[in-house]
């Protein structure tokens, strides 16, 4: 009987497996970043036209172009360029913007806090609206709140965020001047954009919350909970919601990832100097180092968000820690 058996074994193995699980997920994160950066590298090389020519302009002499190529590092074979690119990524160094000459890292880091704040606000607003409404819809099916939730989620998916942004500006900044029209220096500036951004995301989270809750409420352990004589409140919020949240967290995390990378339009509508705008202009101006850096940066952020979601998921779901 010296062998570990039963729950003791389960718990010990559980913790070991959890660490291994984290480690595996971390490896996966690195792999994702490697694949994405490789794709970016080659896609940019495949695009017709020499970036050096774009930078130099049509009047440039051969020497000028050579000099620019040397500066861009495009004068060596592709394999060498790829090696350098990977080395740069490992050091998190994406070079300098071809347009402004500033370091890509610096440009990104200047803009990132604003986008991050906006995304956090957006997701928080989304969660505040979506989860309670989703739970209410599931618990009182075919009630007023359920219909309200359905109408909301339809609208959320149908209304484009730029239109919603403009309407919000028109109503709450112009007609009823509750919020400022321009600027980005205070939290107040970010409320309307966060609503515009969070509105559609909330619709997705709402639908999922409702579906997950309805599913959990139909499971057998709910019958047990009822047979125990628990109150409806305990059955719904202690038992069902906890299990429903496992699915909701995953989707919410992915939505948050989208917001970080996809605030371009909203930032444009509200003239916010965030990442979205930075990348948009980089694309207009064929600022290749900045585009490359931006895509890799977003990929890293997205992977990190997913990594965090995986951890929260496994904390909510004790089963995942062992399986």
């Amino acid at each position: 009987m010296g062998k570990l058996t039963g729950p003791m074994y389960g718990i010990l193995r559980g913790n070991m497996e959890f660490l291994l699980f984290l480690f595996r997920r971390f490896l996966r994160l690195l792999l994702t970043i490697l694949i994405i950066s490789t794709i970016i590298f080659f896609v940019i090389r495949v695009i017709p036209g020499d970036p050096a020519l774009v930078v130099a302009g049509i009047d440039a002499s051969d020497e000028d172009i050579q000099a620019i190529r040397a500066r861009l590092g495009t004068d060596v074979p592709v394999a060498v360029q790829y090696g350098r690119w990977l080395a740069d990524i490992v050091r998190f160094d994406f070079g300098e913007s071809m347009i402004s000459g500033a370091s890509v890292n610096k440009l990104i880091m200047e803009r990132f806090p604003l986008t991050l704040t906006l995304a956090i606000l957006g997701i928080v607003l989304g969660i505040i609206v979506a989860i309670p409404l989703g739970v209410l819809s599931a618990v009182h099916r075919w009630s007023f709140w359920d219909y309200f939730g359905m109408v909301y989620s339809q609208m959320g998916m149908a209304i484009p965020s730029f239109w919603l942004g403009m309407i919000l500006l028109l109503v709450f900044a112009v007609k009823i001047p509750l919020f400022p029209l321009f600027g980005s220096d205070s939290l107040k500036n970010l409320i309307l954009p966060a609503i515009a951004l969070g509105f559609a995301r909330a619709a997705v989270i709402l639908r999922l919350t409702r579906a997950a809750m309805v599913e959990e409420l139909s499971k057998e352990y709910i019958i047990t909970a009822r047979a125990k004589g628990l109150t409806n409140r305990m059955i719904r919020y202690k038992h069902a919601l906890r299990n429903a949240m496992i699915a909701v967290v995953t989707v919410t995390g992915i939505q948050f990832g989208y917001m970080l990378g996809g605030a371009i339009i909203v930032e444009q509508v509200f003239s916010l100097p965030g990442l979205g705008r930075l990348f948009l202009y980089a694309i207009y101006q064929r600022d290749f180092p900045l585009i490359q850096g931006g895509v890799v940066f977003i990929a890293v952020i997205f992977s990190l968000v997913n990594f965090a979601v995986d951890i929260i998921y496994s904390l909510l779901n004790p089963k995942i820690r062992i399986s």
């Binding site: 193995r13 070991m16 497996e17 291994l20 480690f23 595996r24």
Partner: protein
């Protein structure tokens, strides 16, 4: 009696796949099992869930070829067969599972489901319809139902259809994996009678897998008891029912419901009923290997040799 199936030292090991995993040990689902199944008999295989009985059956059917060991079908080593021959041999053995729902495609009418198999084995096209009628007749399903879908039948009827489909291959050997466990008592009896009738009519040989000792002792000629991937006792049914020897067999028999005693048999280390000199039921070393010792008249018990 002539042997139809001979299993020689069958092993089935599931390798642990994960690159990074705590569970490094491979899982030995079937551990050195040797059995003979005689023609036109019912061989019962009993054991609790996870003891390897289904894995063994799948190995015999070559659905999941064994990791090592020989399977002789009618004296021929199945592993030595080429793809084409194997296909031929496979149609001579069929399997019926516990759950007919997963065995029948819900989107296929009974007719199509039966026809598929017949077409596959190139049954003369013009005779297929009559053959399907015959087969359904045989299992007691009215042939006017051929165009119905599985969900229109009850559990017992579905199991009959599955049996009819297995018969359409004209097999000699059927593996019956808990074929009545999902059915109501009154329906179980119908299916069991049907299986026994079919066995006599077509000289079939059955490997009957079940956790239900009463059922196995009712219908099988020989029984093997499996525990943790190994056969721990095998004998003619009457012999093993009258005088079970291995401690696990006794434990299993004592737990079968329907007797007045509700005591679970647990052997202590001194228990050595039926053992020849120099053997023990309990592994002397953790890695001692179990041997199946014949103690006379085909009654074998799994035990360990003392002193290596």
């Amino acid at each position: 009696m002539e042997k139809l199936i001979e299993l020689k030292n069958i092993n089935k090991v599931f390798k642990s796949h994960k690159l990074i995993s705590v569970k490094k040990d491979d899982f030995v689902a079937v551990d050195n099992v040797s059995l003979d199944i005689k023609k036109n008999t019912v061989f019962g295989l009993v054991g609790e869930s996870g003891c390897g009985k289904t894995t063994l059956a799948r190995s015999v059917m070559f659905l999941d070829p064994p990791t090592s060991g020989e399977i002789l079908f009618d004296g021929k080593d199945i592993a030595s067969l080429s793809g084409k021959e194997l296909k031929l041999y496979r149609s001579r053995m069929q399997i019926v599972f516990q759950d007919p729902n997963s065995a029948l495609n819900p989107k296929m009418s009974i007719y199509r489901c039966m026809k598929e198999g017949l077409v596959n084995r190139r049954y003369p096209k013009d005779k297929i319809d009559t053959r399907i009628k015959e087969l359904l007749d045989l299992v007691g399903i009215s042939s006017s139902y051929v165009n119905r879908y599985p969900h229109e039948f009850s559990g017992g009827q579905k199991q009959r259809i599955v049996i009819a489909r297995a018969l359409s291959m004209e097999p000699e050997f059927l593996v019956l994996d808990e074929p009545v466990s999902n059915l109501d008592v009154s329906i179980q009896a119908q299916i069991i009678n049907l299986l026994l009738d079919l066995k006599d009519e077509f000289s079939l040989t059955y490997l009957f897998i079940s956790h239900d000792l009463n059922l196995v002792s009712y219908l099988s000629d020989e029984v093997a008891v499996m525990y943790k991937g190994q056969v721990v006792e095998t004998a003619e049914t009457e012999k093993i029912m009258k005088g079970p020897l291995h401690p696990y067999t006794l434990k299993l028999f004592s737990s079968a419901p329907g007797k007045n005693s509700v005591e679970l048999f647990e052997a202590d280390e001194s228990y050595r009923e039926g053992l020849p000199e120099g053997y023990t039921y309990f592994p002397p070393e953790p890695d001692s290997s179990l041997q199946l010792i014949d103690i006379g008249e085909g009654h074998s018990i799994g035990c360990y040799a003392l002193n290596g």
